[in-house]
């Protein structure tokens, strides 16, 4: 029954093509509602009865292609359907919402859900490859010069990295004769020489690291997310949902290999470096989309850190941060869409007075920013609190606070738009925008950011069945640290970051296509070398 979630969007996408000369939006929204309800039902089933497994074709497990839904994957599937529904409502009035867009949108949804459910390594390759193509077409939806260039870079870099995955899977198949993730996990400890797994693991991890944009493999991400002409829901989908597929594969694959090769220390370091590089570059941007793209890199680094501590609380903290990140990043990307519609620019220095002109979006932005920085009572605070449980080392705590400080720095830059004189161009100033669907959708996502923070514990229990006690004393201590960091960030921003040439220069640092591939190969050699040294 899990396969309905994958088939139905594709079928609707194909039917939708028949509406080429008429309006198919109602059909798509209706189907999305249905899928969301069905996903909710499946979530309920998994919650009450445990893991669901679908073996295709009636073959026994490990021989058939299996769809597998446990708590982790079904939550992500549910989140995906909710996000796609929400974003669809946002896009409903957009001029880009035509038959072609609907087709690509639904196909992408089906592919992403399949990525969460599939356990077959080759299937995952196919899904990665096809979703790459769909995303590339969505990026260059308006076919302008920059968009086509960015789309090509995204397509080629992703396809090359999927080649690494395919090669690694081939090596695994030669060793085990299985393609099923769980089947391999069961027999992996029987391998006599762990060194024989280094190459396949290296190949597969290189692909995943590129997919989740770990440093130094993150250069494609700002290009893909920051394309100026792409419809505003595209970066929201990419950052909110597509990014989580990579993280999901990261969790699954490192769990599969962890019996033989433990790479927590490696990813801890890479995670911290990614996070710090991410926020430094985010602070340096002036295009809002690029700022958010680099911020995604930074947050992903933080999640990788949480997953790599090897401690339960921080592991689930990262898991919750993944959920929270989808929400607040969607809020921010969508509000950038609203802002660029009403201000006709995405330059962070040229938008001022949002609170006065677009109060609904203004509040949504405030909620999103408080979420991303981990302000008390918001979802980010719960997950960051849990991640900080990962280690007692003072250095690690300092680094975690440094990341929060960096997040606050670029959030200040973002928040500066809320105040000041209205800088809207005269042509759009007169428009009445209080009954704007996009604005209210953004606002609803903002409210969700608050709710998932206020009832953080309940949500954690509800989603993952993980019980976590938050000690009020400690939480208060974290809140005070947060306030101090806000003050520090404010002082830093006013005194040093703003209008500093150094940061403008850093903002233009990026790799060319060839350099990206070289970085990919270097990362591969590095990780393989490290594993040889380890075993």
């Amino acid at each position: 029954m899990l396969y309905w979630l994958i088939i139905v969007p594709i079928v609707i996408a194909v039917i939708n093509v028949g509406f080429i000369h008429s309006d198919s939006r109602k059909l798509i929204v209706g189907s999305q509602l249905g899928i969301t309800v069905y996903a909710t039902y499946l979530f309920y089933l998994v919650r009450t009865q445990g893991t669901i497994m679908d073996n295709m074709g009636g073959y026994p497990r490990a021989f058939s292609i299996t769809l597998y839904a446990d708590r982790i994957s079904i939550v992500l599937v549910w989140l995906t359907t909710l996000m796609f529904l929400g974003l669809l409502i946002y896009a409903y009035t957009g001029d880009y919402f035509n038959t072609q867009f609907g087709f690509l949108y639904l196909t992408l949804q089906s592919l992403i859900i399949a990525l969460f459910l599939s356990t077959d390594l080759f299937n995952i390759y196919v899904l990665l490859e096809v979703s790459t193509v769909v995303v590339a077409i969505l990026i260059m939806f308006n076919k302008d010069r920059q968009a086509v260039y960015d789309g090509m870079i995204f397509l080629f870099v992703s396809v090359i990295s999927s080649g690494f995955w395919l090669f690694g899977v081939g090596m695994l198949y030669r060793t085990f004769g299985h393609l099923d993730l769980h089947a391999i996990q069961e027999v992996i400890t029987e391998v006599e020489d762990p060194r024989s797994l280094i190459l396949p693991f290296g190949f597969i991890l290189t692909t995943i690291s590129l997919k989740i944009a770990l440093f130094p493999l993150s250069s494609w991400l700002p290009k893909a997310y920051g394309t100026p002409s792409a419809p505003p829901v595209i970066p929201a989908i990419l950052s909110g949902v597509y990014e989580t597929t990579g993280l999901y594969l990261f969790i699954r694959l490192t769990a599969m290999f962890s019996e033989v090769i433990e790479l927590n220390a490696f990813f801890l370091v890479v995670g911290f470096v990614t996070s710090i590089v991410g926020f430094v570059l985010a602070v340096a941007q002036k295009d809002l989309r690029l700022l958010l793209a680099y911020s995604t890199i930074s947050q992903v680094g933080l999640m990788t850190v949480g997953f790599s501590f090897g401690i339960e609380a921080s592991y689930w903290g990262s898991m919750y941060h993944m959920f929270a990140h989808s929400l607040f990043k969607t809020v921010l990307f969508l509000s950038v869409g609203v802002l660029s519609h009403h201000y006709k620019t995405r330059d962070v220095y040229r938008i001022r007075g949002v609170m006065r002109t677009l109060p609904v979006t203004g509040f949504a932005i405030i909620f999103g920013l408080l979420g991303i920085t981990g302000a008390p009572l918001f979802n980010g605070s719960i997950s960051k609190y849990m991640i900080s449980y990962g280690s007692d080392s003072p250095y690690i705590q300092v680094l975690l606070n440094l990341i929060t400080l960096g997040t606050l720095l670029y959030s200040m830059k973002f928040a500066a738009m809320l105040f000041g004189e209205n800088t809207q161009p005269d042509s759009v100033r007169e428009e009445d925008s209080t009954h704007d669907i996009p604005q209210w959708t953004t606002f609803v996502f903002g409210i969700l950011t608050l709710l998932t923070g206020l009832f953080g514990n309940t949500f954690l229990q509800f989603l993952y069945g993980y019980n976590f006690t938050i000690y009020p004393g400690e939480y208060l201590e974290k809140s005070i640290i947060y306030l101090l960091l806000v003050l520090a960030a404010f002082a830093l921003y006013r005194g040093w970051v703003r209008e500093r040439d150094l940061f403008t220069k850093i903002g233009y640092v990026e790799l060319s296509f060839n350099a990206m591939i070289t970085a990919l190969v270097m990362f591969f050699i590095g990780i393989v070398g490290y594993m040889y040294w380890l075993t």
Binding site: V126, V159, G177, S512, F513
Partner: protein, 119 residues
Amino acid sequence: MKPLDFITGEIVGILLFFIGLYGLMTKKTIVKTIMSMSIMESGIFLFYITINYTDGSVPPIGQAQEAAFVDPVPSALMITAIVIGTGVTAIGLTMFMHYKQKHGITHWSRNRNQTGSEH
């Protein structure tokens, strides 16, 4: 052991993969990138269809069961992978042609602000 015994499908596959990768790292022309990608993929295909092959084994259908069967799964997987590879190459070439005809650009640029050079 014959002198050329070490040239198996697996070894050639791995070599092709890295030759393709070398091309991707060094060539700035977009068409050459697409070609290198195809070479890289061919290496993977060759690797797959030669893994776990033992001399004297027979196809898995229409044969008496005395000899060992060849594993049909890798070949089946590669049919799918070849189709996807062709599709991706086609899309890559389409994008490139559109880009070249409309903007006259054939090379990867150094950075975003330049966005493609015309030499």
